[in-house]
């Protein structure tokens, strides 16, 4: 259960976020709002990359505001990145090692002496399983630059998934995907939540958000202008005004 309370962030005068507060529970939640509404800034605060000026963030009643990103990861929150943060030098499969490198560590000695066969088998199994879920198994041995965008997106998702998080933060997962890829992504996200992993995603694509997310928070100019189920949000005038602009302006 993630609780965001009175978070505000200002970059030298510009108020990116002002007293944002909301709570989200299990299942798929979406964070929506027009461009520049402060969605990514809030995301960076939650994942520890940005320290807020005021307020706090609690996850399962544990204050994670001041924690550095790698501590927040240890508490079970993984994330994907808006413009793909994959390691280009190594193959896509090896990129997945990053997800588990901190969770499953072979003893340095055994690993160096090549006697850690069981450890590697375990790792391979985990990778196969995750690639299966995000159905990118056949791209494993390629380098990132030789795989299509959709596959790369799925690999980033797979990398976050392999670290067995309890909360998954997705930064515009549907951006740049065509319809069939979006449908594929929706199935994967449903599969993920069925495995007991909660999801908070930042997204523009209303149709994608509508049929997936149970609970929606809408931001505009750094303030929360509405949260609730998707239906409630659709009727909320502020949200409509924010998206479609003022009818009589």
């Amino acid at each position: 259960m993630l609780e965001v309370n009175d978070i505000s962030v200002s970059f030298g005068g510009l108020k990116a976020l002002s007293n944002v507060s909301f709570k989200i529970d299990c299942g798929i939640n979406a964070l929506i709002g027009p461009n520049g509404a402060g969605k990514t800034t809030l995301f960076n605060v939650i994942s520890g990359f940005l320290k807020p000026n005021t307020g706090y963030v609690k996850y399962n009643d544990f204050d994670i505001t001041a924690l550095p990103p790698y501590e927040i990861f240890k508490r079970g929150i993984s994330r994907t990145f808006q413009n793909l943060n994959l390691i280009k030098e190594v193959s896509l499969k090896e990129n997945l090692y990053l997800g588990i490198i901190e969770k499953m560590k072979p003893s340095l000695l055994k690993d160096m002496l090549r006697t850690s066969k069981p450890f590697w088998k375990n790792v391979e199994a985990k990778i196969e399983e995750v690639m299966e879920i995000t159905n990118v198994s056949k791209w494993g041995d390629l380098k990132p630059e030789s795989a299509p965008y959709g596959v790369l997106k799925n690999f980033e998702l797979a990398r976050a998934l392999i670290s067995q998080p309890s909360l998954l933060l997705l930064d515009e997962p549907a951006a740049g995907l065509n319809n069939s890829e979006k449908e594929n992504l929706a199935n994967i996200i449903n599969k993920i939540t069925s495995m007991g992993i909660d999801v908070l995603m930042v997204e523009h694509d209303m149709s994608f958000v509508s049929n997936l997310s149970k609970y929606v928070v809408c931001l505009n100019f750094g303030c929360v202008i509405g949260y609730g189920t998707y239906k409630e949000i659709r009727e909320n005038e502020d949200v409509i005004k924010a998206y479609l602009g003022d009818i009589d302006a």
């Binding site: 994942s47 520890g48 990359f49 550095p68 990103p69 790698y70 990861f73 240890k74 993984s78 994330r79 990145f81 943060n85 994959l86 390691i87 280009k88 030098e89 190594v90 090896e94 090692y97 990053l98 997800g99 490198i101 901190e102 969770k103 560590k105 072979p106 340095l108 690993d111 160096m112 002496l113 090549r114 066969k117 590697w120 990398r159 670290s163």
Partner: protein
């Protein structure tokens, strides 16, 4: 799990032993010894630079700390040689940890400048504390190492002793290259933000790598002091750090054989062209330029391409 590149290791052992028996001449043995010294230092820089992306232009300073700790402790205090190696390694680790803490927050040119500045400070300290370090005229009469009763005082004995250490180091390096831990460095080099968000405490890992490589440099520094019996600040100056950088880059950054190949070429080549001194600099510079321009992956990249699928380093 990648297969260890046994071919390269076997080749090393074969070459070193065949060379020992084939060539009695001490001059060629001393050249190979110098190649091995440079190879270890260049490989350490390769790990720092090629793997973890830490641009350090001050590695000669740690090499010097090891050499001077051994020199000072044996000449002035007559401490048992082996102990001085451990003390040198310890001092270097501590100094690297303390200096690394603020330095490793920096990136790119700033990090290069900070490490370069640190190297210059250590070089000046070697020059200035004349009564302990012997200052610019150096330190004479450093004791010799003795193992199981054999005093290692001439080229052949040191050749055998150091080849064993060099092969051991290369094996260690090879195992490290194929270990899970080396991925962590590659991830950090490529994207610190991604590594951070997957639980890697980036600054701590960088600090450990920096301190450990410096410790190894110090150990090699101590052996250098035992080997040459005389040290002066000139061999630990900025020029040596830059030579190591060039060796690692030419050899092929990020590949395990890079350091050794680069060191082999750049130590042997000046000997071949040493009889036209005036033009040596121009030839050396042009060789450097040609390799950097036309063989971007360095020589190990070149060999990999030539040998195709046989060798997977």
């Amino acid at each position: 799990m990648k297969k260890t590149n046994k071919l390269y290791l076997i080749f090393l052992i074969v070459f070193l032993s065949v060379f020992y028996f084939l060539v009695e001449n001490q001059f060629y043995r001393s050249i190979v010894i110098y190649v091995m010294f440079n190879a270890i230092n260049a490989s350490l820089l390769n790990i720092l630079f090629g793997y973890a992306g830490i641009i350090s232009l001050g590695q000669a300073a740690f090499f010097g700390i090891g050499a001077y700790t051994t020199g000072i402790l044996t000449v002035h205090f007559g401490i048992n040689p082996f102990l001085t190696i451990l003390i040198g390694a310890f001092i270097s680790f501590v100094v690297a940890y303390i200096v690394g803490f603020p330095t490793l927050k920096l990136h790119g040119h700033y990090l290069a400048m900070a490490t370069l500045g640190f190297g210059m400070i250590v070089y000046i300290l070697f020059n200035e504390f004349t009564d302990i370090t012997g200052g610019p005229s150096g330190l004479v009469g450093i004791a010799k190492l003795s193992i199981f009763g054999i005093l290692i005082d001439d080229e052949s004995k040191f050749y055998i002793f150091f080849s064993v250490i060099f092969v051991g180091f290369s094996i260690l390096l090879e195992l490290f290259d194929k270990s899970f831990y080396s991925y962590k460095l590659k991830f950090i080099k490529e994207s610190e933000s991604a590594s951070k968000s997957f639980g890697i405490n980036v600054s701590k890992v960088k600090l450990i790598v920096f301190a450990t490589t410096s410790m190894f440099s110090a150990v090699v520094g101590s052996l250098f002091a035992f080997y040459s019996g005389f040290i002066s600040p000139v061999s630990f100056s900025l020029k040596y750090s830059i030579d190591l950088f060039v060796m690692a880059t030419l050899g092929g950054l990020g590949s395990i054989t890079g350091g050794t190949l680069g060191a082999a070429l750049l130590t042997v080549f000046p000997e071949l062209i040493s009889n036209f001194e005036d033009y040596e600099m121009i030839i050396y510079g042009s060789l450097l330029a040609i390799i950097v321009m036309f063989f971007p992956q360095g020589i190990s990249g070149l060999i990999k391409k030539m040998l195709g699928k046989y060798v997977r380093s």
